[in-house]
Symmetry: C2
Subunit: 472 residues, 2 copies
Amino acid sequence: MQGNSELDRFFRPDSVAIIGASRNPGKAGNVILENIIANDYQGRLYPVNPNVDGVLGLRCYPSVRDLPEAPDLAILAVPAAGITAAIQDCAQKGVRALVATTSGFAEVDRVGADLQQEILTLARRAGIRIMGPNTSGITSTPHNLVASIYPLGKLKKGSVSVISQTGNFATHTMRWMLTGESLGICRFAGLGNKIDVDEAELLEYFGNDPATKAVAMYLEGFKNAKGFLHTARRVCRVKPLIALKSGRTTSGIRAVASHTASLASNDTIVDATFRQAGVVRLTSYIGLVDTIKLLSFQPVPSGNRVAVLTPSGAMGIVAADACERLGLRIAELSPEAFDKLSAIFPDYVNVGNPIDIWGAALVHGVYQAYRTGMQAALEDDGIDVVYPILTLSPRSVFSTEEFDPEGLSFIPELSRQYPHKVVMVGISGDKAYYEVAKKYLEERSIPVYLPVEPALEALAYVSRCRQYMDAV
Amino acid sequence: MQGNSELDRFFRPDSVAIIGASRNPGKAGNVILENIIANDYQGRLYPVNPNVDGVLGLRCYPSVRDLPEAPDLAILAVPAAGITAAIQDCAQKGVRALVATTSGFAEVDRVGADLQQEILTLARRAGIRIMGPNTSGITSTPHNLVASIYPLGKLKKGSVSVISQTGNFATHTMRWMLTGESLGICRFAGLGNKIDVDEAELLEYFGNDPATKAVAMYLEGFKNAKGFLHTARRVCRVKPLIALKSGRTTSGIRAVASHTASLASNDTIVDATFRQAGVVRLTSYIGLVDTIKLLSFQPVPSGNRVAVLTPSGAMGIVAADACERLGLRIAELSPEAFDKLSAIFPDYVNVGNPIDIWGAALVHGVYQAYRTGMQAALEDDGIDVVYPILTLSPRSVFSTEEFDPEGLSFIPELSRQYPHKVVMVGISGDKAYYEVAKKYLEERSIPVYLPVEPALEALAYVSRCRQYMDAV
């Protein structure tokens, strides 16, 4: 194991045991192992199950005590009833890090809460660090380790690391990000009931992690608010921190209580804490995914001055409204940008921002109009973000022609030429065309959204992160 | 032509002339005709173009004066330079209704504004009503008439009619609704520069139209605010009225001026007018599409009491937060609903709303858990809206199995059994599974959204419509 933090055992283990490995599809002990295999984990892998000889082509060991070595990390997928014995075995073998996917503890009842306390005492005595219980697992793509209880398959590597109180984001949401958004992540930790490893310690770890460019969090409560505040204040200066903290409202707080046994905090205090800590607070689940995508694919822009390009005057106006509402600015074009645009627009067009490319498209073709407009905006020192909105459809009602996304190659090309500026794209029109264009662009690190607001909402969050980063 | 309103000539014409019909794919005069043909228009169709004998298999007439009859409706797709002559021909022939897709008028310059005034005078003198100019066209699916300058193809019939100042919603957005959301519309009118037919008159027409269940609007300014207010006040009592009025902000107002030559109104006055008029004002483009979908597929609920079903505690909490923020209520379960749910949940689960179906799913299977939970909620008189959030993925990482949506048939079945309650669905997980499930459900009138907020935002708008409707 490389590294010098205790948490390296979780994120950079040279060997992993899966205690409760199973042959039954759909069982956590089966899915975890499938995920690990699908992601080409390079370390030594030890399925543990006393009832079978092998699982998924790997030799199975009856107990962790029978392994040829003390694995750096043990992942527990046994029922709550078997967890004490499993931890005792781990202690005896010398295991020092444990991810407990098992549920049925404080989130369920008093008996579960007592059991949870008991395993914590056991682990402390043996010097074992625990993530969970009631966690969906752990993921570390720089280390090719994906150990989730949910069928994720081969993850893409990404640059945003995620801390989540619940399985939500490491499970179906991550599968959506992967299959629906061409989006990978860097590392993921599911806190679950966080009896030991907590949000503050993970934030510290991801803050020091060179592979992590930004940290996204889903939290329901704090275990260590003071430590979190202290760490966040430092980390927010070097990388964006965004969080969805639920239990904002009376209804939400009631729902939290029965979920992860967290005491929901007073929401006004949470708001103030986040502001002091430099954590940008999101208000929606869907905004979290959209913002992770923008952070993953594009740089943090220097400012909030946006150029919008669209063939639809109406969309331009709606985008301008959205920018102002969200604290973004519709940039004034520089005289140079104005001249470059005027050169390709017919005389009757009032050149301005939002840039209505329709007039130029009629003369020079749609792609040439976007390309010239984008280039003029990217060269303009007064513009930080360029947001073309495309409308894609076949030219004819009766066309069955497939969309050739290569025509859009100028977008990633321009983005690469101006690596400090943000390029993000909105697409409307034909669904099939949209999907082909979205995949093509997102595989080339250009985030694509439905028009008009989602891209701007994500940008507004990222811009607020920049304000903390500028405050160094 | 049936009906007794002047606007019937636009929405129920027995004969239509396309002046400027073209053989060139992509040209407005070609696309309009393709759309009309693709939608099986049942009336008599007359392409007009002096330079060709036929277009798209139809005989072409040199001038509108050569037609065998005065068509109920003429659609103009000639350049601005030819519009005066075309209108003179129409006047001579006895045409009484005209859709002018031609652009290059007040939205461009002073000369255009003068020309616009000239054609209005011409039309008035001849008793011709004009929609436009600078409009994307007109659509009336109950009449099988789709005359858009954008390639839409065969539209689905729907129940929401749309009034839009610009082409936006009748073009790429409508193509998106059709191909991406399995969503049709009832009628559409693009106002354009609205030199004659205006928002108030169209609202009156759609208000009296039995085929129109709700009216959605995109506006940049008012031509006849007083008439609009007067009409809306009456119409909002019988059907939902929603509007996206752009030019809310300084940036937006600047952008409006160069778009449709509207003077943007003081936004505070617009807000007040909408409130008085019973028009629910939306703040986002994407919200308009989402809300049209909900209005199209589901009834207007009696109240705002929501039951959320999800296998993810976190999503339940986020949904509860969103409900409260949006003015919706997380319903208290009735004792009967509580008992029905308790019967299928393991003892350790705290039954409540949001309903975390995971415990029941482990015992009875996922679909059975949703079905029982939904039925209990639908039978509960204290619940108006049932919102299951599904997470769909293959059971195994290595599965290539396709998703069989028939397993979800219980959702439309239950919805049909409780026709006065709203059922809307959120789906996360695997993109391919999502798409198959979405298509299956939306073809059966169950609206599907990405979790968590979009469905609730649309519902919040619809609930506000209900408040005006209750005020009869």
